[in-house]
């Protein structure tokens, strides 16, 4: 069966994807993610916010959980919502928030 997730490594090699490292897992080499950070106005356009999201091969991080810490590009994030499988489940998306105090 065709597995599109094999392209993730190629995307990373060409700078089209980056790598998320699980902070709590010693020696974790991370997994390849597509990372987006569109900004938006919410609450009656009174609040400026970023809707941070990663997309990754589900098999690379099958147990990613709410609250788990990830480091992406030197910045710490937490998984904000339970990851959502897309389509046939090959890929998942997870919303993140920047880890603050």
């Amino acid at each position: 069966m065709f597995d599109p997730s094999i392209f993730m490594g190629v995307f990373e090699a060409h700078g089209l994807a980056t790598r998320a490292v699980r902070t709590a897992v010693p020696g974790d080499t991370g997994f390849v993610v597509g990372f987006v950070r569109p900004e938006d106005l919410i609450l009656g356009e009174a609040v400026h916010t970023a809707q941070i999201e990663i997309e990754y091969a589900t098999a690379d991080a099958p147990a990613l959980a709410v609250g788990e810490s990830l480091t992406i590009g030197g910045t710490a994030y937490r998984v904000q919502n339970a990851p959502r499988k897309q389509g046939d489940g090959t890929f998942s998306r997870a919303a993140l928030q920047e880890a603050r105090a």
Binding site: L43, V47, H48, R78, V79, E98
Partner: protein, 155 residues
């Protein structure tokens, strides 16, 4: 020329300004959207004024009892802990409100400009974001007594 309404609202803002828990600042009618860096801020908006006249039909003798509706809105951004738990917007805002309210109630006449300042109601809103954004909006009523012909000074 500064009317009694303006003086009272200025005094309200001055009373709340300096609330130590409002580390993001205190603003009036801010037009710029609040960012994550503005966490724990207060925004004050004068919403409306309504009046009732007392006395006879002579503008020289009649009193106008004026009630201002002022919103004191507290802006917070939650941060998730390692267990994936965020404090509710209400809990983040409450210490700020309690502190700002104490400052107002230390002189509920706003330096003699108002008959009194009263808290009337509140509403809470929150929306998921890069750290849940929350607003706790408290409506205060400022009651003023003015002469109908003179909006400048309390009578």
């Amino acid at each position: 020329m500064t009317t009694l309404i303006d003086q009272a609202v200025d005094a309200f803002v001055a009373s709340v300004t300096g609330t130590p828990e409002a580390v993001g600042g205190v603003f009036e009618d801010r037009r710029q959207a609040f960012t994550v860096d503005d966490d724990k801020a207060i925004e004050i908006n004068l919403r409306e004024a309504d009046s009732q006249a007392f006395g006879d039909n002579s503008p020289l003798r009649s009193l106008v009892n004026t009630v201002l509706q002022v919103e004191l809105a507290i802006y917070t951004r939650a941060a998730m802990d390692s267990a994936g738990v965020e404090l509710p917007a209400r809990k983040l805002a409450n210490p700020i409100w309690a502190s700002a309210h104490a400052r107002l109630m230390a002189d509920p006449t706003l330096g003699g400009l108002a008959v009194r300042v009263r808290w009337r109601r509140a509403s809470w809103r929150a929306e998921s974001a890069d750290g849940t954004a929350g607003w706790a909006t408290h409506t205060y009523e400022i009651t003023l007594a003015m002469r109908e012909h003179n909006l400048l000074a309390p009578q």
